[in-house]
Structure formats: C-alpha cells, structure tokens
Symmetry: C3
Subunit: 109 residues, 3 copies
Amino acid sequence: MKLIIAVVQDQDSNRLSAALVEHNFRATKLASTGGFLKSGNTTFLIGTDDIRVDKALQIIKDNCQARDQLVTPVSPMGGNADSFVPYPVEVEVGGATVFVLPIEQFHNF
Amino acid sequence: MKLIIAVVQDQDSNRLSAALVEHNFRATKLASTGGFLKSGNTTFLIGTDDIRVDKALQIIKDNCQARDQLVTPVSPMGGNADSFVPYPVEVEVGGATVFVLPIEQFHNF
Amino acid sequence: MKLIIAVVQDQDSNRLSAALVEHNFRATKLASTGGFLKSGNTTFLIGTDDIRVDKALQIIKDNCQARDQLVTPVSPMGGNADSFVPYPVEVEVGGATVFVLPIEQFHNF
Ligand code: NI
Ligand code: NI
Ligand code: NI
C-alpha cells in the first residue's frame, strides 16, 4: 500500500474530493485556515493499493494542475469610472505538491 | 522506528492526547480550524519504536473508534412545545483514519 | 528521495521558510490555526534528495531549536505600579519535531 500526501489549493479541493470519491479512493482531508481567512491549501491523505497510485496521481493532476486564468478586474472604487477600461489579467491558479510514501499499515477505526 | 499519522475527530482529541502521554508516547498534534468554527479533525503525528506500534494503535482505537451516540433533541424553537415529544436520535461520532509509515530519522530540536 | 516533516513553532516559521528558500529547498507549509488565535505550530513538508537531508536538518535546527528567552513583564494592570519591580522571566520558546521518511515519488503539478 501507499500513502499519497497531496497539498492542493483550496479552490480545487472540493472538485478533487468529488473526483476521488467517484473513483472509489478513500481520502482524508486535513482542515486548514485557508477556508475563511485567505486562500489557502488543503492536504489530502490518500491510502491506496500500489496498483492504483498512477490513477490517483492522474486525478490529482487533472483537477489541480497549475494553470493561467484570465481575471477581469472590476471598476476601481473611487477612481474615474468613465475612463476605466477593464482588461483581463492573467493569474496562475491551482497547483499541487504530491508525495507518494510506502506504508506498512492502514486502519479505519 | 515508525511514524503513525492518526486523523481523529476533535471531540476525541484531548482524551487521546492524555492517553498517549499516560503511556509515554510522544505525539505532535497539528492544529486545525475545526476547533472553533465547526467540528473538525485533529492530526496526530506519533513517532515510536517498532515494538510499541500495536500498543499505540490500541490506544487510538480505544479512544477514537466510531460509535453511535443517542442524542435527544431539545424542544423546537417557535414550534408547538405542548405537542413536541422529544425522542433520542442515533448519530455516529468519532472514528479515526490511521497510517503507519517506516521512518528513517526522528529528531527533537 | 526523502520527505522531511518538520513541526515548528509559528514564531520560527517565517525565518525557516526564508532559510530553506535561500538554500534551494522546496518546502510546502501547511496552514494551521495558530496564526491568529494563539501561538501554534506550522508543519513543513520538504521533499529533498538523500544527499541534502543533513543540510536541511541543520537549517531546521539552526532556526527552530528550543531556547530560553528572557521576557520582562510589563507593569500589572490595576496593580500598584509604584511598588511593581519588573524582573525578567525565562521562558522556553521554539523547538521542532522532525521526521525523515523514505519517499517513492515526488510531483509538482
Ligand atoms: Ni474518471
Ligand atoms: Ni493503559
Ligand atoms: Ni547557509
């Protein structure tokens, strides 16, 4: 068996949870402060058979990979709204750091 | 040596801490948001000699195992208190997800 | 490759982050509640080649080791400020719990 530790951005966390459940992976999600204070990260602990490690990694990659996103800023508060021309700005979102570890025992009590 | 990673419900966290200390296990407890926002989980990192792994697992099981609990709801606010007959509802509480990992070094600085 | 899990006090967290970056270690820092509620801990996940494990441990020790600190209390509120003679009190701060684990795969998506 293996333990996969995956640290992902909060915004991808729910989607990753759903995809793991859909593919019958058991994941434990560690709470973090990110949820309400600022954008943070969530840590997934996934215990899996050796043969399904690649599938789990693919699911993490599919749902969390770093990508550029176009964000159109809203009109600036207090600025001259008439002359403000909003244009989209590219920001990088997502990304995951993933460790695969050997495991000797796994229990659900 | 082994590292035991145990994710337990917040409500069992203090009791587990006390039991581990009582049996001379060194545990590091990771903070989580669960404490004041909503019921969450706490992650224990326990470094231990191979020979004491079974004992640690037994302590975790004894203190955190999932169990049914009878909860009697209070009279509903704004409802007709005269006709409200409270009866106990069974909810599952507790539970632990536990990983045992090989470890190459353990340090306290 | 190895995974180093280091749990350190919040007050040492930023200094350790900077030192790890300076020496080209990739670290993932797990959020914790400690930051604004009370003094807590931060967990670092550091993936590194075997050959650099000792260097990483040295950096953690240098920046986080438990040490005594002299704290001079301020005049007590509501007390008799005239007769209050502040003297420094020694408190232990810092400290780190560190695990080094074998690792089979490491990915950044
Ligand atoms: Ni699929
Ligand atoms: Ni006992
Ligand atoms: Ni240096």
